[in-house]
Symmetry: C2
Subunit: 433 residues, 2 copies
């Protein structure tokens, strides 16, 4: 378990106990004579001596193509990992860890860094023995092997998956110091799978079929009620993520993909889909994953994830280390309703908003990457981002959310996040009013 | 080094020496009573007994969220790896391995499975000490730290990278039994980086600047001449792939991205860019990476990768194992000139062609995924794919290529690939005329 009060610094790779001969030879003297300027590059007065300084790496033959049949990150990136928070849950088998958003860029989350949320640990499943059954209000109950599933037409879609509890700790004010912890229960992956509707059609739906109950093969036997309209619209039964087989912690060998809806419904280790005529009101849609309001009633079936964004850099775990001048602010925006149409950024706590540049593929129900490039004068900043989706939904402030929903909620906090950046470049999670 | 004559079978996970208690308990008896039908699913006569059979996995709590800070594939996927061919090169430090295309789907190649090609092994570089210098015909020679580079505006683009020698062994006929070996020197990644033109503008180009010489910091000090127009058009200086830092074998901490052009030019471990007024005619663009024609002259500066495609499943390493009936043929198509506009598939050696379904994001200079769903009657097949790009370029037959370029070539073989599928579902690399 990691200490969340000691975040790693971005841009300053942690020293690693394993120091190679090459690196010792390279030494710390290289380029010591260069003066850091206020622009983002340094003038090279006389190129040749610099070449001499920086050519050390190529004096040694490196490892060959047989060294890593399945590749791993550089040892200098060993700080880029999912992290959990020891005090958050009683046991790591029913717990969560967080995607290191502040270390990533673009829109794809690498498979090894996708956050995990388990209710009974990671099921260990041999795909040759795994089966998916469809039964209940169908003409012909069916059982599919993994090979059976791969005989249906496939599709490939990039979707974000966000836990409904993402940012949940922040309902009562700024709590966790780092976007990995405040917003890291989200990832974005290209799934390959078959449309659920093909499998349901194969079984044949009875006229009174209205709801589905997907069930996981893990120790929690996760179940959620899913309305049939969603299943027939865009749900996938997926077996690949980012090109390769699902990872064990993401439901290997097969999971449900419920685009734009809360992560808990994307049942992992999918083994059974029951077809019924009404919801089942199971544990995870009554005592959990409902939103207790101030008046004592609860919102239920709040499936769609609201429009949301967060600045990932700078942030508490990723301070500005280069001093004043050219600075890149970047972050992520997403909406369960579709595409992001606009992201605004402020550096003065909301007095002035600037249109951010959204870059990379803009895909429905996918993370979007935004940038705001500016010249930092070294003064203190209050930075925020605010997303809008193609349907005109706008990300609210936390204050607005609380005024409507009270402070009992855990789930569906899509409020605007504020980082206070100090003159030395360090950043902190704060609330402003 | 692996034996290419003993390919793994897709869909039949290899037995693993490490057998868990859970799997032993699950046993081989599960669902033994089910009869495989001719459709892609099996009827479940009485659902309840089946549930009993398949629920074994959930009797045990699995590993928790602290078990793998950086995740790894399932042990049942241990056969999904890059593979090299022992006899192909004298030493693994100047050699190649191959992406397991037949095990992947969608368009993203996972970072751990991107093929490698090194000329002096993998440079081991500490990013804190790494520098990129721009010098030559510029107003102000500059040296950039990694932190400096990250202060310029970034962009995110998905591009394929193909080695010019991909399929090179096939010039003289069908040689290698598996698409991993015939076509596996290609991968497709979302890069994050800064446009090279921003860095060149910072240094200031002299009026006579026409060519660039990027140089790698590895033991081969890889250099290639790149025309300035390309650099100013769409080249990136990239530091992330699929969201995270570049992998060491892909040029960590920084590489050049030369969209659509042969992989050798995408200089890894980029440490220097010299600006000049003519090409340098270095080793990798004279004795190598040129195309010797039948008349003894050579094609030079053949940078752009031609329109190309290959069927990845079924293929020699991935036979059909499910018998006749519903069958998915899938593969990849790409073009260095832009987007793929159409892919055709034949199952009878080119007598009849059928439009394949291209699915997933269609991005310029990126891999495209295609599918052809059909009912297999169990007869022998000669399967081929033929791609066309948005500029009307059509993938040629190998015969057409040989008639124009002779048989001395190694590079730029984009000819149509044929797999012979036998009645038992096994497949073989063949040539037809």
């Amino acid at each position: 378990m990691s200490d969340i009060n000691k975040p790693d610094k971005d841009g300053e790779p942690m020293t690693n106990a394993k120091v190679s001969r090459r690196r010792l030879l390279a030494g710390g003297a290289a380029l010591g004579g260069l003066v850091a300027g206020s622009t983002a590059a340094r003038a090279a007065g006389t190129p040749d001596p610099l070449i001499t300084e920086i050519q050390d790496w190529n004096r040694y033959l490196g490892d060959g193509v047989d060294s890593r049949p399945y590749g791993t990150p550089s040892e200098f990136e060993s700080h880029v990992v999912r992290r959990d928070v020891a005090w958050l849950t009683a046991d790591s088998k029913s717990s969560v860890n967080f995607t290191p958003l502040h270390e990533l860029d673009g829109i794809i989350t690498p498979n090894g860094l996708c956050f995990e949320r388990h209710h009974g640990g990671i099921a260990e499943i041999n795909p040759a023995d795994h089966r998916l059954m469809i039964h209940g209000l169908v003409d012909k109950p069916l059982v599919f092997t993994m090979e059976d599933l791969k005989r249906f037409p496939r599709e490939n879609r990039v979707y974000f998956l966000e836990c409904a509890a993402n940012s949940g700790m922040e309902w009562r004010g700024a709590q966790l110091n780092g976007c990995q912890y405040t917003h890291g229960m989200v990832h974005n992956v290209m799934y390959t799978g078959v449309q659920l509707k093909h499998l349901l059609n194969e079984a044949g739906l009875k006229p009174n079929a209205k709801w589905l109950l997907p069930e996981g093969a893990d120790a929690s036997a996760m179940t959620r009620s899913v309305p049939l309209e969603k299943a027939l619209d865009d749900c996938l039964v997926a077996f690949k993520m980012n090109g390769e087989a699902l990872r064990p912690e993401q439901g290997y060998p097969v999971r449900l993909v419920v685009p734009g809806w809360e992560g808990n419904m994307w049942v992992k280790w999918l083994r059974r889909i029951e077809v019924g005529d009404e919801p089942w009101h199971h544990r995870e849609e009554t005592s959990k994953y409902t939103d207790l309001l101030a008046n004592g009633t609860a919102r239920r079936f709040t499936w769609e994830m609201d429009v949301k964004s967060v600045i990932t850099n700078p942030s508490p775990q990723a301070p500005i280390t280069h001093g004043r001048g050219q600075t890149v602010i970047t972050g992520l925006a997403w909406s369960g309703a579709g595409k992001i149409s606009r992201v605004d950024v402020t550096i003065d706590g909301g007095r002035n908003w600037h249109a951010a540049r959204v870059d990379g593929p803009s895909l429905s129900k996918s993370l979007h990457r935004f940038y705001f490039d500016f010249d930092w004068d070294g003064s203190e900043l209050l930075i925020q981002s605010r997303a809008m989706d193609e349907h005109g939904n706008v990300q609210p402030t936390k204050e607005m959310l609380r005024s409507v929903r009270g402070e009992n909620s855990i789930y569906h906090n899509n409020g605007i996040q504020t980082w206070h950046v100090r003159g030395d470049g360090s950043a902190e999670n704060v609330e402003i009013s």
